[in-house]
């Protein structure tokens, strides 16, 4: 069989040249950039779309949310604290020109966690620990006005809308060929953003709250009472290390750096000349005793 032979096949015809690690870096960075762009686009569209959802709908979803936290935090009874908080919130709603149809409901919950938050359907939850920590009405008014402002600007529905859009997008991308690690990464990122407000939203609510405090009292003294407490607690927690970390108010975890925030707020006060006149002593309203 002399007429037959097998010639040697040259390498790198069937196999591409190039380092796999370079390929990996290029692909993962490129995809991360695309995902980040997509996430940004989704966040922007959620912020744009969410306020267009009628408040009536949000209200009905809010009932479901209410069931969730009620289960977790126990039965709430009608008590003087709730009635007092509700009267303040109604006043704030009036000051912030919130239409009657957007009813805001306050819930007072016995808890050791210092927390106040606004959620879907115009519900504001205030814990007993927070009420203990604020030393006068002006400080509490600022906190409540901040939460009411979140509802005024429809921040809860924006946050939830963003979370929902993220999870839809991630299941659309990952879909059937579900790779455990990749999907959990994207899901993790999606749920993290679910109920936290963005920095801009916090600033918007802070600004509105401060204006409300000024409109009501004619000055902004005492408005920072609760934030000053937070800043101290924050510093205390960072100095004492992990041992005390448990006691950091929950409020902190979803809000921007308190010191920075206080500085911003004080700037707003100075710019608008909202400070109390120096000639007269500042009057702060005391909290009623609920015993």
């Amino acid at each position: 069989m002399p007429q037959y032979s097998n010639s040697e096949i040259p390498e790198h015809i069937n196999v591409s040249r190039g380092s796999p690690i370079k390929d990996f870096i290029k692909l993962s960075l490129g995809l991360l950039a695309i995902l980040a762009g997509l996430a940004y686009f989704l966040a922007v569209s959620a912020n744009w779309l969410a306020p267009k959802i009628p408040y009536r709908w949000e209200k009905s979803w809010g009932t479901a949310v209410e069931g969730l936290f009620r289960e977790e935090l126990g039965e709430e009874k009608e008590n003087p604290q709730r009635a007092y908080l509700q009267s303040k919130v109604d006043l704030i709603a009036q000051l912030q020109n919130i239409p009657e149809s957007m009813a805001i409901e306050v819930h007072y919950i016995e808890s050791d966690l210092v927390n106040a938050f606004a959620t879907l359907g115009g519900h504001i939850i205030v814990t007993s620990a927070l009420l203990d920590k604020v030393s006068h009405e002006n400080g509490l008014f600022m906190v409540l006005a901040h939460e009411v402002a979140h509802i005024k600007y429809r921040h809860p529905i924006q946050a939830v809308g963003r979370g929902v859009l993220f999870s839809i997008a991630s299941s659309a991308i990952i879909g059937q060929q579900k790779s455990e690690s990749l999907s959990s990464l994207i899901w993790g990122a999606g749920t993290l953003t679910l109920m936290s407000f963005s920095r801009d939203q916090e600033e918007q609510a802070d600004h509105e709250a401060l204006k409300t405090v000024y409109d009501h009292y004619g000055h902004t003294s005492g408005a920072f009472n609760f934030f000053e407490y937070l800043a101290e607690a924050e510093q205390g927690a960072s100095e004492e290390g992990g041992k005390e970390a448990r006691e950091i108010p929950v409020f902190l975890s979803t809000h921007p750096n308190t010191r920075e925030r206080l500085a911003n707020l004080k700037n707003i006060v100075i710019e608008n000349r909202w400070q109390a006149s120096l000639a007269e002593p500042v009057k702060v309203e005391t909290l009623p005793s609920f015993d």
């Binding site: 040697e8 196999v15 796999p20 390929d23 490129g30 995809l31």
Partner: protein, 157 residues
């Protein structure tokens, strides 16, 4: 915190996959180059009908098969590639190794049985487990053909 552990586990698996995968590939290629030279004397052809030759006294079916698995790193790289498209270079070397290894095993069988050439060589590939869920995908390549020659008597062994 759980997400951080998962991320660390994922990166460790990726690094292990890369380390062992590259090491296995390099050593496999070295062994392939060496054995391809050794078995260069056994000729293989895709032709179905060999020319009539008095040397072809005997014929026999010979085959070689190999199952080869992809590593974690390559699989992830292929997943990334699947979003964009293009040459899945991480699988190319895998399949190349599998085909050449299967061909070498077939040649070895032919050599042991004393044949000098294999005609009508065909390749079959099958995907095992198809990379479902947490399973790492693996492939099988089977090569078979008709060995022709004078049979065991005049073989090189």
């Amino acid at each position: 915190m759980e997400a951080v552990y998962e991320l660390i586990l994922f990166l460790v698996l990726l690094a292990l996959g890369y380390g062992f995968g590259q090491w296995a590939e390099r050593s496999h290629y070295q062994s392939i180059f060496k054995r391809e030279k050794e078995l260069a004397g056994i000729l293989v052809f895709a032709e179905r009908l060999p020319p009539p030759d008095p040397a072809f006294k005997e014929s026999r079916l010979v085959g070689g098969s190999v199952v080869i698995s992809v590593d974690y790193f390559k699989r992830f790289l292929a997943l990334l590639r699947s979003f964009i498209g293009g040459r899945v270079s991480s699988y190319e070397s895998l399949l190349d190794r599998a085909r050449r290894e299967a061909l070498l095993r077939m040649k070895m069988e032919a050599q042991e049985k004393g044949f000098q050439s294999v005609f009508n060589v065909k390749f079959e590939t099958a995907s095992i487990s198809k990379g479902k869920g947490k399973n790492i995908g693996s492939i099988e390549v089977f090569v078979y053909g008709t060995a022709l020659g004078s049979g065991s008597g005049s073989g090189s062994q």
